[in-house]
């Protein structure tokens, strides 16, 4: 029982990171209607920028604030200079563009930071663990749960309670209608892509002290992010959050009893849900 509780806690921490990734991808998929294959690469760039910022500034917290903003700016440029020019060309071209971009970003990471992996320790205050009574748990993972939780709630509040969030949700439902109401749909696309990139970037920044950094880290995370989006329902924000947590917890619980299946369970859960609900947990299309 103690082991199970510990694994569930662990699954929630991992699931929060998956949810952050899925949330960003779902936003982009919902509003721009493209599967962003560069999402994993943006996650990796977030992690690498964080490590560089820590090196330059000597402060984890400032790096954690700045690096994801850098990824958001990169996302803004990608949409403004790249994807936007391909709207007229059609869906396939945007898809190919993001795929090509993921390769370019991965190679750029190797050029800038080198092919060898890097370790980043948590800040001193978050090193080591705390005894929770039923398990001894790393402080940094508890911080990640808290930070990711706040980010998810913050994003949700932005989408639900602000005027621009309402426009974004309307954009997910019906872009043409939003455009006919006189709202600059292109700006909406840019903001959505930048916000999605920010979420990928901060997921990467938070992950760096847990998993370390390697040029291929984005590829590992991209597959899971797509599973989260498909499982939650294409473009569904609440679905992405629920699916991220579900995948994280399922992975952790299975690992407690059948470790060999801990990766396969991600895809088994997705397959099972899609058979029962082809539109995903919360999807309508």
């Amino acid at each position: 029982m103690t082991l199970l509780l510990g694994q569930i806690l662990n699954g929630i921490a991992t699931g929060m990171l998956y949810a952050l990734m899925g949330l960003g991808l779902a936003l982009i998929a919902g509003i721009l209607n493209i599967p962003n294959f560069a999402h994993g690469a943006l996650f990796a760039v977030g992690a690498y920028l964080t490590v560089s910022a820590i090196g330059a500034l000597g402060n984890f917290w400032i790096a954690l604030l700045l690096a994801p903003v850098g990824v958001a700016l990169l996302g803004l440029l990608i949409e403004y200079l790249g994807i936007r020019r391909l709207y007229a060309a059609g869906h396939d071209y945007q898809l190919l563009f993001t795929f090509g971009l993921s390769l370019i970003l991965a190679e750029s990471i190797i050029l800038v930071w080198g092919p060898v992996g890097i370790s980043q320790l948590p800040p001193p205050i978050l090193r080591g663990g705390v005894d929770l009574g039923f398990t001894f748990y790393p402080k940094y993972r508890l911080f990640v749960m808290l930070a990711a939780g706040l980010l998810i709630v913050g994003t949700w509040l932005f989408l639900e309670k602000t005027r621009y969030g309402a426009i974004m949700r309307a954009g997910i439902e019906n872009k043409e209608m939003v455009s006919l109401l006189g709202i600059d749909i292109h700006r909406l696309f840019t903001v959505a892509f930048a916000l999605g990139a920010y979420l990928a970037g901060i997921a990467g920044a938070l992950t760096a002290p847990i998993r370390g950094l390697s040029p291929g880290m984005g590829v590992d995370m991209l597959g899971i992010a797509f599973v989260v989006v498909a499982l939650g329902g294409m473009g569904n924000i609440l679905g992405a959050i629920a699916a991220g947590l579900l995948i994280g917890v399922a992975q952790a619980v299975v690992a407690a009893y059948w470790t060999e299946a801990s990766v396969a369970v991600i895809y088994l859960v997705m397959a099972a849900v899609l058979v029962l609900r082809p539109q995903g947990l919360f999807g309508t299309r």
Binding site: G6, S119, T135, R211, G212, A256, T259
Partner: protein, 404 residues
């Protein structure tokens, strides 16, 4: 103009044969094609380029010539996928005339490539943790350079227990493929003689990045030591998470089959504290060949070589020794010459068992240094023991190598 007769056609054919076929034969003898099948994509893609370096350095030491013939060194991507690797080896053998194949880097993929070598009758050298190349699936054309998993397990367990005699409760984290299973079997076997209790043994898929679930389980077992039988980025990710959960440095972590430098450089000094490392090579190896190789490598690439480039270099050197002994460039002669060869080479005295094609050689065991004891950034560890106990005959699964 007369009618073309059957005799004329035969004459023309004979002339063509005289001109053409020897030309082909001459072309075949113009160069020796050697294939490095290394991972450029997929799992272990980080290692592919440095494996290539090692093989190239060994060939360059001979000015890319063997018995007066120029060596044409070609590289193909194994992609760490059996299907891709075997297809590319076959294409290189059939299309490029490759007769000597070294690689790849994954045990599972190597077993598939070994089958191609057997079918195509080409020389094949591999370095990795599976015992099947020189065991149950041995045959005349494939050789194993890495220490036998038994040699590795015996060196690691004996040396660790000598330094930590009270650490009797071990938890194992094992990569779930051929290499992991082989080493796990012998770690448990050798562990019996020390009275080690294996309180847990969890297998994880190749390419696992989320180790927290396994580490939490390991922590719950309250072991005296955690031993990982995995490799590359899996090992690095595992070591990080074991540190994050506060197991190391309190609980020692043993990386039983490590690439050494390539893995240790990815871990911060704090994470390396109380890590014990078994490896097929460490750059402070005290042999003339290793010293020269390490110096040349450092001069060329700026950092010391780990196990990967050293294995590629070492395998190529052993193959070149066989060419020298055979005084021939024919595959059969080189294979026969390598069987039973005994030389002082990269890691010391090295002998190829003629009955199993296993290279008998020392295995290294190191202890990582605390940050304060490091003399330079690459001063990761001290070699505290080497071991070369061969696989006892009762475990040998290679009963008959067969013929050519």
């Amino acid at each position: 103009m007369g009618e073309l007769k059957r005799r004329d056609i035969l004459k023309a054919g004979a002339a063509a044969a005289a001109l053409g076929f020897p030309a082909i034969i001459r072309a075949q003898q113009k160069e020796l094609v050697m294939l490095g099948i290394w991972p450029a994509t997929g799992a272990f893609s980080d290692v592919g380029p440095i494996l290539d370096r090692g093989m190239k350095m060994a060939l360059e030491e001979r000015d890319m010539k063997i018995k007066g013939l120029p060596v044409k060194y070609i590289v193909r991507d194994s992609a760490t996928q059996a299907g891709a690797a075997t297809r590319r080896v076959e294409e290189a053998v059939d299309g490029e005339g490759a007769k000597f194949v070294i690689g790849p880097w994954s045990s599972g993929v190597a077993l598939a490539v070994s089958e191609v070598a057997k079918r195509k009758k080409v020389f094949h050298y591999f370095s990795g943790g599976t015992e099947d190349i020189s065991g149950a699936r041995c045959h005349r054309y494939s050789f194993q350079w890495a220490a036998s998993p038994y040699t590795a397990a015996k060196t690691v367990v004996d040396s660790f227990m000598k330094a930590n005699p009270k650490a009797k409760r071990w938890h194992l984290l094992v990569a779930d493929y051929a290499f992991g299973w082989s080493v796990e079997k012998y770690i448990k076997e050798v562990g019996k003689s020390h009275g080690i209790e294996f309180v847990g043994a969890d297998r994880h898929p190749l390419g696992e990045r989320e180790f927290s679930n396994y580490v939490q389980k390991a922590a719950a077992n309250r072991p005296d030591a955690v031993a990982m039988i995995n490799f590359g980025l899996d090992a690095v990710a595992g070591a990080r998470e074991i540190f994050n959960f506060g197991l190391t440095p309190k609980v020692p972590l043993i990386m039983t089959w490590s690439s050494g430098v390539e893995e240790l450089v990815q871990l911060a000094p704090e994470i390396r504290e109380n890590i014990w490392v078994g490896s097929n090579f460490y750059y402070t190896a005290d042999t003339p060949v290793a010293k020269k190789f390490v110096a040349d490598y450092q001069k060329k690439f700026g950092s010391p070589p780990g196990y990967a480039p050293s294995a590629a270099y070492g395998m190529t050197r052993m193959m070149l020794h066989a060419f020298d002994k055979a005084k021939s460039v024919e595959v059969r002669d080189v294979v026969t010459a390598l069987e039973g060869i005994e030389v002082d080479d990269l890691v010391g005295r090295m002998k190829v068992d003629a009955k199993t094609h296993q290279t008998l050689r020392p295995y290294f065991f190191m202890r990582c240094k605390p940050k304060s004891a490091m003399k330079h950034p690459m001063d990761f560890a001290d070699v505290i023991a080497t071991g070369d106990a061969p696989l006892p005959p009762e475990y040998a699964a290679c009963k008959d190598l067969g013929g050519f």
